[in-house]
């Protein structure tokens, strides 16, 4: 395959650009920023699209090479493939899948749409393989450290086998293994499939247990049923026993039954007797009403009797008392009142006289008081003593010449003299005169008072008399009124009595003139019977209770039945019944225990149907996971075999081919080259024993080696029709000698294919022209 021409309508910074390419080796020279790399990228993109943004790229290739003026990128590439001429026209849109790509057979003019990565179809290799084989950009900077070198080797290794820059066999296998071991680990002990399988087993065990529990549950339910039946059977027996006991009891109760019957009959008889002609039953209520009526009448009658007795007493009392008539009493009363009035006059006069005497006495008392305050001019006694004292003092002085003693005596005399003027006695003579007068007046007063007392006494007597007369008068009048009132009341009571009696008779529908007493007798008799009835009923109540609620007919039946003798051992029957009760109680307890076990023991047992459903789900999951695991295992196995096979087919060939090219590029400097699985290369120089790894070689040598390797890979993987090789400034690290050798080699290498070297080094062009290699300047 070879590229004849490229036409860039717009791509990156290039617009409307045409580049004709020829067979064989050619140099395309352009200064920096002339667009060499853009052209290389265009070639690749035309065949493979721009791809997605990769890790580490800030912008995608599509964005990077979008025309600067905003027009859509587009172009054509003319090429020869399988001896036919084609061109691919591509309009770059949003993504590879939306690009409009057509391929035209130039000979026929037939165009058709083609996939975005048409290169894969045409070249048989992926874009990755393309990039790492025949599309050789600048070698990555190879640093001295082993790590970078290994990476490069790895990249080459990857490219050779996978066509993807960053994918290695190891990575692919790891992906598969990761997926496998997540399901079932290497040890087979963990993983989601293993867990599911364990859960499946767990569920199966649970189902087994559940079914066993169901069996146990069935047994318990059966046992409950059996116990129920036993209880029923015991109940039946108890019922029969109770009946026998009941009959036995009836025999015991026969006396009571007979009494019951008798009383019932008696009760009927009394009830009949208590039934009046109009059908009313003279029951307690009815009779009580009679009693109530009688009681009322009796009360009234009593009151009438009391009233009559009282009246009699009054009248009798009135006749017995020897009293004056009210008129006579009134006359006496008036006279007494007259006398009283006179006495009051007299008393008043006397009183005035007393008052006058009192005034006189008061005056006399005042005078006496004045006289009492009058005192003598001096106290004669004290005065005399005082004078004597002075004399003595003088005597002492002159006689004895005792100054001190005489002074003392003189002082004392002085004191007494002063006191005689202070302590003066009262003047009593006038006072005594007045006192005598007073006494006389007082005696007079006393006499008057006594007279007044006498009058008062007389007055009191008269008042009492008057009061007594008043009382007698009132009494007489009262008595008369009393008798009148009493007589009126009696009349009222008698009317009330008659009225009440008529009422009672009307109520009971009896003639009004019915004799109360005889009626009383009749009702008393009925009451007696009613009381009897009540007693009978009470007794019947007790009997009824004792007999367990029974009717008259039943009682007669029972008596009749009991009358046919039956040989029942009541005690034995009672014991048997007790035994049955105990047995029933035990059975009930047993049933309760079983029911408790039913409730508690099987509470958390899952339902077998639910378990089966869950088991089915898990079975499917395990099956699906196992299938996936098995398929992934096969994939891993086949992948490993693929690797071996690929290596087998590539390994030796690759080394040979690489050596050929390497020799050509280095001018035979190396005799041997080895390429490992990971594309570690080692070379043996001519005439130097032993290979050494290329990471220890110079940059130039490494470049040569990897160029050789890439060319070898490219050759090997492109099949029958060699692909054009695009080198983007790949010889930049070569020295002059190597460069010259390389050019020569490449010229011969590309004789039957096509090789384009893009460069910005003019020296390359000069050298190429010397070798008659075509140079295109852009």
């Amino acid at each position: 395959m070879k590229i004849n021409k490229i036409y860039i309508n717009a791509f990156g910074g290039i617009k409307d650009f045409t580049l004709d390419l020829s067979d064989g080796f050619q140099i395309i020279y352009g200064e920096n920023e002339a667009g060499k790399t853009t052209i290389c990228e265009f070639i690749k993109s035309m065949f493979y699209g721009t791809g997605k943004r990769t890790a580490g790229q800030n912008i995608s290739t599509r964005e990077k090479y979008a025309p600067w003026d905003g027009t859509p990128a587009s172009g054509r590439i003319y090429f020869e493939h399988s001896n036919r001429d084609f061109f691919i026209e591509r309009e770059f849109r949003k993504s590879d899948s939306t690009d409009k790509v057509t391929i035209t057979d130039i000979a026929t003019g037939k165009s058709e749409s083609c996939p975005s990565d048409i290169g894969k179809t045409l070249f048989g290799i992926s874009v990755g393989a393309f990039e790492k084989s025949v599309f050789i950009g600048n070698m990555p900077e190879i640093t001295a450290d082993a790590e970078s070198s290994s990476e490069l080797n790895q990249r080459l290794s990857n490219a050779a086998f996978t066509g993807e820059d960053d994918i290695s066999y190891a990575k692919i296998l790891k992906r598969i293994d990761d997926a496998r071991f997540k399901l079932i680990s290497k040890s087979g002990r963990t993983g989601s499939c293993v867990s599911d399988r364990a859960e499946l087993e767990n569920l199966t065990n649970k189902l087994y247990e559940s079914e066993n529990q169901s069996v146990r549950k069935q047994e318990i339910l059966k046992a409950v049923k059996i116990t129920d039946e036993k209880i029923k059977s015991v109940d039946l027996k108890l019922s029969a026993a109770s009946e026998i006991l009941s009959r036995a009891k009836d025999i015991e109760n026969s006396q009571k039954l007979k009494e019951y019957i008798e009383l019932k009959e008696k009760l009927d008889d009394i009830t009949n007797k208590l039934t009046l002609s109009d059908g009313t039953v003279a029951d307690e209520m009815f009779l009580k009403k009679f009693e109530f009526g009688f009681s009322k009448l009796d009360n009234i009658k009593e009151k009438i009797a009391e009233g009559e007795a009282e009246l009699a007493v009054l009248k009798k009392a009135a006749m017995r008392l020897d009293t004056s008539s009210p008129e006579q009493i009134n006359e006496s009363l008036l006279k007494s009142q007259e006398d009283l009035k006179n006495l009051e006059g007299e008393e008043a006069n006397k009183t005035l006289e007393c008052e006058a005497l009192n005034a006189e006495i008061e005056s006399l008392n005042e005078q006496i008081r004045i006289m009492e305050n009058k005192k003598k001019a001096v106290n004669p006694v004290l005065l005399i003593i005082g004078i004597v004292g002075f004399i003595c003092a003088g005597a002492v002085y002159f006689s004895t010449s005792g100054v001190v003693v005489s002074a003392i005596i003189a002082a004392a005399a002085a004191i007494l003299t002063v006191l005689s003027f202070v302590l003066r006695p009262a003047d009593v003579s006038a006072k005594n005169k007045q006192a005598a007068l007073l006494s006389k007046t007082q005696a007079e007063l006393k006499t008057k008072k006594a007279e007044i007392l006498m009058i008062q006494s007389q007055k009191n007597n008269l008042s009492s008399q008057i009061q007594s007369l008043n009382l007698s008068l009132n009494f007489e009048i009262g008595q008369q009124q009393k008798v009148k009132d009493l007589e009126n009341k009696l009349e009222e009571k008698k009317s009330a009595y008659n009225e009440e009696k008529h009422k009672v008779m009307r109520f009971f529908g009896l003639p009004e003139d019915t004799d109360i007493e005889s009626l009383k007798e009749t009702t008393a008799d009925l009451s007696k019977k009613a009381e009897q009835q009540k007693q009978i009923k009470l007794r019947l109540l007790y009997l009824d209770r004792d007999l367990g609620g029974i009717s008259y007919d039943e009682a007669r039946e029972k008596v009749a039945a009991v009358n046919s003798p039956d040989d029942i051992d009541i005690e034995a029957q009672k014991q048997a019944a007790e035994k049955l009760m105990a047995e029933k109680s035990e059975l009930r307890e047993a049933k309760a225990r079983l029911e408790t076990e039913l409730k508690t023991a099987f509470r958390n047992i899952p339902d077998p149907q639910d378990l089966r459903r869950e088991i089915e789900v898990y079975r499917e999951r395990v099956s699906a996971k196992q299938e996936f695991f098995d398929a992934a295992t096969v994939a891993a196995e086949v992948l490993e075999q693929s690797l071996i096979k690929a290596r087998q087919s590539f390994g030796g060939l690759l080394e040979d081919e690489t050596l050929d090219i390497f020799k050509g590029i280095t001018g035979g400097a190396y005799d041997l080259i080895t390429v490992s699985d990971r594309f570690d290369m080692a070379a043996e120089k001519s005439n130097v024993f032993g290979t050494h790894g290329l990471e220890y070689s110079s940059r130039g040598t490494k470049d040569q080696a990897y160029l050789a390797l890439r060319l070898a890979i490219g050759k090997l993987i492109t099949g029958k029709e060699p692909l054009p090789v695009i080198l983007d400034d790949s010889l930049s690290q070569y020295d002059d000698k190597r460069f010259s050798l390389a050019l020569k080699f490449l010229k011969s290498y590309a004789e039957k294919s096509q090789l384009c070297l893009f460069t910005c080094h003019n020296a390359v062009c000069e050298e190429a022209e010397k070798e008659e290699i075509r140079v295109v300047r852009i």
Binding site: K120, A179, L183, S214, V617, A635, V638, S642
Partner: protein
């Protein structure tokens, strides 16, 4: 009465744990209770006279007491409708039953574990049947009671229709149906609804479960409502399920990436299932031919879908468009791999495992591979 209007339902499994749904399983447990409430409302709206619950009302006899109380409460609230319950293998009627020894409303009748009948004089209808007394119950060759010719005879039974009586789930045979003299047999136990069928004079049907509980129970679930009588069976299906389980294939050939695939899925579901589409539980199967190099991340797609859908799991059944002949010719490890795999496949063309291995291997060349746990 010539016909009686009934509502036939079964297999609600109120309280059933739905562990496959993860966190959602807890809330989903009692949605069946809400469905039950809706069923009773539906009965009332449609003037139903008799409700037949053919078993498995509860997931087990250990169901929460609050759920039992609520069921009883709801039935009490419709005293004008008679409700007959024939217990199933999940909620057998024995001393451990939640209905045992509690006060039940007058309109709620439970068939005992022996052949019984309940007569509704005002409906001119007799309901026959027997409840499960335990997890397993063997079928009986014949029903112990004779159907009354004067009344409408309905059987309410949880069990399987089998050719013999070997099943542990109260099986009945076709012969039994033919000779039962029943006008209608309301069946439960099978979660998939059947159309009313007829054998001689007897109509019978499974109402199916009223609320699905797994991806083996796809589509709408509900009850039957309608008139039944002598030679009459006019039952109509009413959907009652709050959510349905759906398995949907979506062709993602034209989807460039995971968001586009998710968007397409949402779009198609919305179109197919209408406004309530987000409430359902989906198993999405991606199909289609996708170009080499494009792979869908099921985890991402599932996460995106889960923002809208109540529950979803995604399976990848897409086929990558590899031109195997071209690949085979590639001078690369991939080419060799494809070549070797094709050789093996050629030797065993029916071996699906080899085809799967090829798919896995090819995927591994360009992206991570892995088994999607959600599928």
């Amino acid at each position: 009465m010539e016909t009686v209007k009934i509502l036939h339902c079964a297999d609600l499994h109120i309280g059933a744990a739905q562990t496959m749904l993860g966190e959602k399983g807890q809330t989903r447990r009692f949605e069946a209770l809400i469905t039950f409430e809706n069923i009773l409302s539906l009965a009332k709206e449609n003037s139903v006279r008799l409700i037949l619950i053919a078993g498995d009302l509860f997931c087990s006899n250990s169901v929460e007491r609050s759920a039992v109380n609520r069921v009883v409460e709801c039935i009490s609230a419709i005293p004008e409708i008679q409700v007959v319950f024939s217990a199933g293998n999940h909620d057998p009627y024995n001393s451990s039953s939640p209905f045992f020894n509690i006060k039940l409303p007058d309109n709620f009748h439970i068939l005992p574990d022996t052949d019984s009948e309940i007569y509704f004089e005002n409906l001119g209808t007799r309901v026959y049947g027997r409840s499960f007394s335990d997890t397993y119950m063997s079928g009986e060759a014949r029903f112990a009671l004779e159907a009354n010719e004067q009344s409408i005879n309905i059987m309410c039974q949880h069990g399987e229709i089998k050719s013999d009586l070997s099943s542990n789930y109260n099986s009945i045979t076709n012969e039994f149906i033919e000779n039962s003299n029943m006008d209608y047999i309301a069946l439960g136990h099978i979660h998939k609804r059947t159309e009313p069928a007829r054998r001689k004079n007897t109509y019978f049907a499974y109402s199916g479960c009223a609320e699905g509980s797994g991806f083996d129970e796809l589509g709408d679930k509900g009850v039957y409502i309608g008139n039944v009588g002598k030679g009459v069976c006019e039952l109509e299906f009413f959907k009652t399920s709050l959510r349905t389980h759906e398995s949907v294939e979506i062709d993602v050939s034209n989807c460039e990436d995971n968001p586009a695939a998710a968007e397409k899925i949402i779009g198609e579901l919305k179109e197919k299932y209408g406004d309530g589409f987000a409430d359902n539980l989906y198993k999405i199967i991606l199909t289609g031919d996708i170009p080499d190099g494009r792979f869908f991340d099921l985890g991402e797609i599932t996460s995106r879908l889960a923002q809208t859908l109540y529950f979803v799991k995604v399976k990848d059944n897409t086929e990558v468009m590899h031109d195997l002949e071209i690949l085979k010719a590639e001078k690369s490890l991939k080419g060799v791999f494809v070549s070797l795999m094709l050789e093996r496949i050629a030797e065993n063309p029916d071996n699906k495992l080899l085809k799967e291995a090829l798919k896995i291997g090819l995927k591994a060349f360009s992206s991570e591979v892995g088994y999607n746990e959600d599928q």
